[in-house]
């Protein structure tokens, strides 16, 4: 038997335990992802998608259960320790980058991810060449603006760079939490393309959360539907290929979830994302 790359075992996560506003975000959550698997995750608001990402990245400790990466029990590891294996792209590009630092410094910080920081200079000629190469694939001309502060860039440019940053020190597991949510459709399409390219290139196990049903069905090799802290449907590639967005929505409604306008199905989209 081969080892899954990532395993969540009987995870329970309770926020504000023992207080009046106690919330059970995840309950009896089991999940095993194989090496190189690209999984999309959908589910209505509050289903526990972001909580799952927090549990995997180590930003939250589960109330109960175990987290394993490459077979190692990392449940007690803080997020910065897991960063050698797990990379994460936030929904808000401002969280994933430092606005007052230059593009170069942002990339340099990500290049050393998961390695012990030393008193070596953070940037040298070799690193800078690599940065230019990686940035030039975006086709945004950013490779000539290494010294510009990140804060000067548009949301799309910043999110493109945080995608690049996530891939600089090749991670074993890549977590994308609605990383296209803040972008306009055209930019989102471009960053999605970049995502697919990077994931294919690195071959890392990827978990992509999205509210866009079309993205969820078109990308990846497996789709999870979450509701009330659990996985209610685990759709393999063979079924996913022929699935309609409306069917996924039915699954969510069947679970008793209310739909919001954040869940995009192709028929309802005015500006086609693709």
């Amino acid at each position: 038997m081969h080892e899954p790359m990532l395993a969540l075992e009987n995870i329970r996560l309770v926020y504000n335990r023992g207080r009046a506003d106690e919330v059970t975000a995840l309950d009896h959550l089991d999940l095993a992802l194989d090496p190189g698997e690209f999984v999309t995750v959908v589910g209505s608001n509050g289903a526990g998608k972001s909580s799952t990402v927090q549990i995997i990245s180590g930003a939250q400790r589960p109330t109960k259960g175990r987290v394993r990466v490459k077979g190692r029990d990392v449940t007690a590891w803080p997020d910065y320790r897991r960063a050698s294996m797990v990379a994460r792209v936030f929904d808000d590009p401002r969280v994933g980058s430092a606005p007052d630092l230059s593009i170069e410094d942002n990339l340099a910080l990500a290049m050393s991810r998961g390695r012990r920081r030393t008193l070596r200079f953070s940037t040298n000629a070799t690193r800078r060449n690599r940065m230019r190469d990686e940035l030039s694939r975006l086709g945004l001309g950013l490779e000539d603006r290494l010294h510009d502060p990140m804060g000067l860039l548009s949301a799309g440019q910043r999110q493109s760079i945080t995608m690049i940053m996530a891939g600089l020190a090749t991670p074993d597991v890549l977590l994308l939490d609605e990383h296209l949510a803040a972008l306009d459709p055209a930019t989102a399409a471009r960053v999605l393309e970049l995502t697919a390219d990077l994931v294919a290139e690195m071959g890392c196990t990827t978990l992509m959360i999205t509210h866009n049903m079309e993205h969820a069905l078109r990308l990846g090799s497996r789709m999870l539907v979450m509701s009330r802290g659990r996985v209610i449907a685990d759709v393999p590639q063979a079924r996913k290929q022929h699935m309609e967005a409306a069917h996924v929505v039915d699954l969510m409604v069947g679970a008793g979830d209310e739909l919001t306008d954040r869940i995009l199905i192709p028929e309802l989209q005015t500006e086609g994302a693709m």
Binding site: V95, P99, R113, L119, T123, P149
Partner: protein, 322 residues
């Protein structure tokens, strides 16, 4: 008259530069408040004075003073991390505790080091104008080394993590850096610098005083604000950061020295400090947008036409700090 003012500014202002640098590190880079620096300034001065009195090499005495300050910073960081006391409160408490520690170390409130061998002894024969000039040259050399080492440090991987951590600790953590480690490091460096400044100060003035740190935090904040206002450093402009510190510290001293020279009594200095601080903060609000507009125009002019130039091989060009 004018050159007297300048020499006085240098002699009394340069020993403050390490302190202001330490305050900049915590206040602007980490975006936090640490009042321990007041206590460690006096502590560093006292430890250095005791070292000198004990016949220690004056450089060694300085190093011991700086180490004492770093330990104070370490304690403050642990109060915050282990006992979960907010940093501002931890600093206030430490500042108070350090008063007693400093008094104990010296065994008296004021300790004279007049006539003892100091770092200035090889360059200064008899007190007077020439001695002041010689001292300011020695101080300028020491401070330059400190600033250069600090700027180089900020360019290292650890220094870069530090620069990113103040604004965006989540990003720093998700890139694999232990943020608590950075807090400890920044407080140790900042208080070590402050204590080093105290050591320079007592060797320059010839005595240590248990109260010599009082008011230094707010004075340092004033200096930082002045420097930031004039040089507008950003996280990646490391050279600007150290320039802002030295310019801010010296202009702050210049204002006070001028006030004294114009015949204001020493008791008015606190009022002047307060006024400087208020004006600096107000100027941040009112002048900054105007200055920013000016800078944008400047940078537009500098920028080449939209067409990106072919990448020029620039192996040695570190940054475009100007």
């Amino acid at each position: 008259m004018i050159d007297n003012v300048l020499i006085d500014t240098l002699v009394t202002g340069l020993p403050l530069v390490p302190l202001v640098l330490g305050i900049y590190l915590v206040l602007n880079i980490r975006e936090d408040f640490d009042m321990t620096v007041e206590g460690s300034f006096a502590l560093g001065g006292a430890a250095t004075a005791v070292g000198l009195t004990g016949g220690l090499n004056p450089w060694m005495a300085l190093a011991i003073g700086a180490a004492a300050g770093s330990i104070a910073g370490l304690v403050t960081s642990q109060l915050n991390l282990i006992l979960r006391i907010p940093l501002l409160m931890a600093g206030l408490v430490m500042n108070m505790a350090l008063f007693t520690v400093t008094l104990r170390i010296m065994g008296m409130p004021t300790m004279s080091t007049a006539g003892m061998e100091t770092i200035f002894s090889p360059f200064v024969s008899s007190p007077g104008r020439e001695a002041d000039v010689a001292m300011s040259i020695v101080l300028a050399a020491i401070v330059s080394v400190v600033l250069i080492v600090f700027a180089l440090f900020l360019r290292t991987e650890i220094g870069l993590s530090l620069r990113a951590s103040g604004r965006n600790s989540r990003m720093v953590r998700s890139n694999g850096v232990n943020d608590n480690g950075l807090l400890i490091l920044s407080l140790m460096v900042s208080n070590g610098l402050s204590a080093f400044g105290g050591g320079l100060m007592i060797q320059m003035q010839g005595f240590a005083d248990v109260n010599m740190g009082t008011g230094m935090f707010i004075a340092g904040v004033g200096a930082v604000l002045l420097g930031v206002l004039l040089l507008r450093p950003t996280g990646s402009r490391v050279i600007r950061i150290v320039l802002a510190v030295v310019v801010g510290a010296l202009i702050y001293r210049l204002i006070l020295v001028s006030a004294l020279r114009f015949g204001l009594p020493a008791g008015d200095l606190k009022g002047i400090t307060a006024l400087t601080l208020v004006l600096a903060v107000a100027a941040q609000g009112y002048l900054a947008p105007a200055l920013a507009r000016y800078r944008v125009r400047l940078s537009r002019k500098r920028e080449p036409a939209p067409a990106p130039p072919t990448p020029i091989p620039t192996p040695s060009k570190e940054t475009v700090d100007a």
